[in-house]
Point group: C2
């Protein structure tokens, strides 16, 4: 049904939350999870992932938490989505080679065309376009 995963949704919600804070103020996983009713552990992983990718900063220890690091205007949405939920494509056939159809498939080219159109949508969009 061509949908984004919850992890991406949670990531966006969290980023938007962080944007409402002052540059230096930290938000903990718990704080965000409770504010939006998101499972803590799952949100935690998503935040960790974003921290590893330098979208946000992580500060450990008590009084720790996360704060925005990157300039959202510079984060491409294709990259962002792929960072969180892996390769972005209409079909599997671009990633794994073992497709029984492979040789006989008559829609490889057209599917590829559509694929590009979809990717283009996200390529021409930055995180800033979404989080405001």
């Amino acid at each position: 049904m061509l949908k984004l995963t919850r992890k991406v949704e949670y990531a966006l919600i969290a980023l938007r939350h962080l944007q409402g804070k002052k540059r230096s103020q930290l938000s903990s996983t718990k704080e965000i999870a409770e504010a939006y009713h998101i499972p803590v552990e799952l949100l935690a992983k998503t935040l960790q992932l974003m921290a590893r990718n330098e979208i946000i900063d992580a500060v450990q220890g008590p009084l720790g938490g996360y704060r925005i690091k990157a300039d959202f205007h510079e984060i491409n949405m294709t990259d962002f989505i792929e960072m969180i939920e892996g390769p972005l494509g209409l079909t599997d056939c671009h990633f794994d080679t073992e497709c029984v159809q492979a040789n006989t498939c008559n829609i490889k080219k057209p599917i590829n065309k559509v694929n590009k159109s979809i990717r283009a949508v996200f390529n021409n969009m930055t995180l800033a376009d979404i989080t405001g």
Copy 2:
């Protein structure tokens, strides 16, 4: 990962196959399934679905099979995909009302914007654009 279901792929492959035939010539499920290594029963259902939606014609009995009915230039891709795999959207929140986030969600609007962009891609595309 934002992908189409196999059913849609199979549908497109089948339609493309039918296009290679003369207007009056029939192709059976078995013939198509074997040509592209698609599970017969699954393809059968997809073809039946398309027949019900008057994209193709079904002829029963031995010597029966399917042939193209609709003008592919007139079939919008959004409609086609939704016909086969149901509602097309980036998130569930547009369909079911029971989302725990609902009230507190801070990304409803932005997600909706992206959603429209994606739908636009398929809206501005007909079956003919894909099957050639």
